[in-house]
């Protein structure tokens, strides 16, 4: 039986808008295919893990206070995460997790929280806490090789700039900045996005892309996944697409 090892970082602190549900969806889709999925947790008190031993590292989003709490700890993990990422470990990052992998996060009071600087983008929060990008969002991504419309929910103050390779094109909602065209950041082994909902709940292609990536990388072969019955997920998404995109 093949196995996927996931490190879920700060699950106890960064879990807004059902972000931990992503792990539930991921595990569920593995289980239905007989793939073993091990999710280890790392948080502030944990011993330093061997990041490179994992197929995927997952970080969710949190409120400002929680993000400040973990940022110093996350910096200590910089070297380990950078090494794993360069060796091909998949990074799946939501909201706060996305922001903290960039150069810095400047909060509403003008203080900089340093990021890991793995990527070139940076995030600036608006001066007013009221100015947030909140609502349903639809993007179109090509990460899987065929265009997929991804539906989620965004709620962020931070405006992320300097993204060269976005996760998708915004069809409805805000994206990286207020009313912007691009959403998130991606590489072949990185998905960083503001989409909550949780993100994977009605976008099974994205989960399967990551599962496929992890299995292909560890086996060295191009793995084709067994199809699952996704009728509920697809109906769920099409209800939202109808509602949000109809002219």
């Amino acid at each position: 039986m093949s196995t996927i090892k996931i490190l879920h970082m700060y699950a106890d602190m960064l879990d807004l808008y059902g972000d931990s549900g992503n792990m539930e969806v991921f595990s569920y889709r593995c289980k239905m295919r007989g793939i073993e999925c091990i999710v280890d947790k790392y948080s502030i008190d944990s011993p330093m893990p061997d990041f490179s031993a994992y197929d995927l590292i997952y970080i969710g989003g949190g409120a400002d206070l929680e993000q400040q709490h973990i940022s110093a700890d996350l910096l200590k993990c910089r070297e380990g995460i950078a090494k794993a990422y360069k060796a091909g470990t998949f990074l799946f990052l939501i909201c706060g997790g996305y922001q903290l992998m960039g150069k810095y996060y400047r909060d509403a009071d003008g203080n900089d929280i340093p990021g890991l600087g793995l990527f070139d983008y940076y995030t600036v929060a608006p001066n007013s806490r009221r100015k947030r990008c909140i609502g349903n969002i639809v993007i179109k991504t090509n990460i899987t090789g065929t265009p997929v419309e991804v539906v989620g929910f965004e709620n962020h103050g931070g405006q992320t700039q300097g993204v060269k390779t976005p996760f998708g094109k915004v069809l409805y909602g805000n994206g990286n900045c207020s009313k912007s065209e691009a959403e998130g950041y991606c590489e072949k082994n990185v998905i960083a996005t503001y989409l909550h909902g949780p993100c994977l709940s009605k976008n099974p292609e994205i989960t399967d892309y990551m599962i496929g990536y992890c299995l292909s990388r560890s086996s060295g072969e191009n793995i084709t996944l067994k199809q699952l019955d996704d009728k509920l997920e697809k109906d769920c998404r099409s209800v939202m697409l109808q509602r949000l995109l109809k002219k």
Partner: protein, 446 residues
């Protein structure tokens, strides 16, 4: 100017009444605009004001406290219909004031929305503030929960009146440190009940000490993050309770507070906390014991809060769940019940619900026991179906029926015990659909 504004407000109230329309919010909204957002300060209130706030339980606790004073023969003004924003409170006072804006009563008992506490009570002198709990609820309206707590904390910094706090909720209990000069801070507390756990059972917030960042230590969890906690580093949470619920037995149901045994009608740990807050308020205002007894033992709720229906001969319980805590509570009640049962979950995402439905992922569905079928409905019927499916529940037993009448028909098709969970804007349409079913097919309402 002030008189004119009040006159305009009163005319609107009158007109709405003549048109047989509910004057819940609109007069207040108009007054709010013409007074440049200082509407509440129009009114002159000399009697003590008691405000109840928190995520869950506001309506119950407000109604019970209102009854305490009513049965004591006092003239009270209260927002029974739950219009709890500044504009709603403003409309209420408009209906009860004279042309000079004077409000005549012995007590004002006001359910107040969490985010409106500072704005309302910076303009009206508050005698007692009761804070029940803070949970994730309608996050996209209030911004993040921390911002909300900070807002109320800011108000508490200068507040010197009675502050009655849920001492078992760290999010709430922290308000007790906002003003070190306030000598009137009181905590209500409950000892563990039969289903209290040693580890946290449902997704929760507030795991860390808000003062020093240390992980909080819990002696027990009652539900979600509510339980006996303390901070091992800065001792946050070590307080002497003002009133404690003990010997809680939900099978009867009974509990004891201040040496007195109460027999409430509702058998949830929620209700024990709410009623302990009510008993705390009664203690503050020296309400006669027989009156406290009669209020606590007779209090029951309708409007989809553990409301019973018979769909033909199928016993059905409807419960409102605005957030994961409410939903988890219903699932627990459902699980603790023997025999097979079926669930209908109605999920809407209208503005008043909060547009975001991801809170359903904080509901612990993996505990399902003997649940033979699930029907889902509402504007987000598919979201809740996917959520239940991913918890490991066989999708062959999930039936999505976005139309409510079809959903109720689907639910009633098979024999056995039924549970219905509906979120905020779904609850009234769901009641209506249940009643329509009953009028077509027989059965009865409570």
């Amino acid at each position: 100017m002030k008189r004119l504004q009040i006159l305009i407000g009163k005319i609107i109230v009158k007109m709405l009444h003549l048109m047989k329309r509910n004057a819940g919010n609109l007069p207040g909204i108009v007054l709010w605009h013409i007074s440049r957002h200082k509407a509440v300060s129009m009114f002159k209130v000399d009697c003590p004001i008691i405000a109840v706030t928190g995520t869950n339980g506001k309506t119950s606790v407000t109604n019970c406290i209102a009854q305490l004073f009513e049965r004591s023969g006092k003239k009270i003004i209260t927002n029974r219909e739950g219009n709890n924003l500044d504009t709603g409170i403003c409309s209420l006072l408009l209906r009860h004031c004279d042309m000079k804006g004077r409000v005549k009563a012995d007590y004002l008992i006001l359910e107040t929305d969490e985010s409106h506490v500072p704005v309302v009570y910076s303009q009206l002198k508050l005698d007692t503030l009761i804070v029940l709990d803070f949970f994730r609820d309608q996050l996209d309206r209030n911004g993040e929960m921390e911002t909300l707590i900070q807002k109320i904390n800011g108000f508490c910094k200068t507040f010197k009146g009675n502050l009655l706090l849920n001492g078992d909720d760290p999010n709430t209990a922290r308000l007790g440190r906002a003003n070190p000069d306030n000598k009137n801070i009181k905590y209500f507390h409950a000892e563990p009940y039969a289903y209290a756990t040693n580890t946290v059972f449902e997704a929760s917030e507030g795991r860390f000490c808000p003062f020093c960042g240390e992980t909080l230590t819990y002696d027990y969890y009652q539900y979600s993050h509510i339980g006996k906690f303390h901070c091992p580093k800065c001792r946050f949470g070590n307080y002497e309770p003002y009133i404690t619920a003990s010997r809680i037995d939900l099978d009867k149901p009974v509990f004891t507070a201040d040496g007195h045994t109460y027999s409430p009608k509702l058998n949830s740990i929620y209700n024990v906390y709410n009623m302990t807050a009510v008993a705390g308020a009664a203690k503050l205002y020296n309400i006669r014991q027989d009156i406290v007894d009669s209020v606590i033992s007779s209090y029951t709720v309708k409007n989809g809060r553990m409301e019973s229906f018979m769909l033909g001969d199928r016993k059905t319980t409807l419960n409102l769940a605005k957030n994961p805590v409410g939903a988890n509570m219903t699932l627990r009640v459902m699980n603790e019940m023997k025999g097979e049962k079926e669930l209908l979950f109605v999920l809407n995402d209208n503005v008043a619900d909060g547009l975001d439905v991801s809170w359903i992922w904080d509901i612990n569905f993996s505990i399902f026991e003997r649940v033979t079928r699930v029907v889902t409905s509402g504007t987000r019927a598919y979201d809740i179906a996917v959520r239940i499916k991913c918890s490991g529940y066989d999708q062959a037993n999930i039936f999505v029926r976005p139309d409510l009448d079809k959903a109720v028909e689907e639910l009633a098709k098979t024999p056995g015990r039924k549970f219905v969970i509906a979120n905020y804007t779904a609850v009234q349409p769901t009641r209506a659909a249940l009643k329509r079913y009953i009028s077509r097919n027989g059965g009865k309402t409570e």
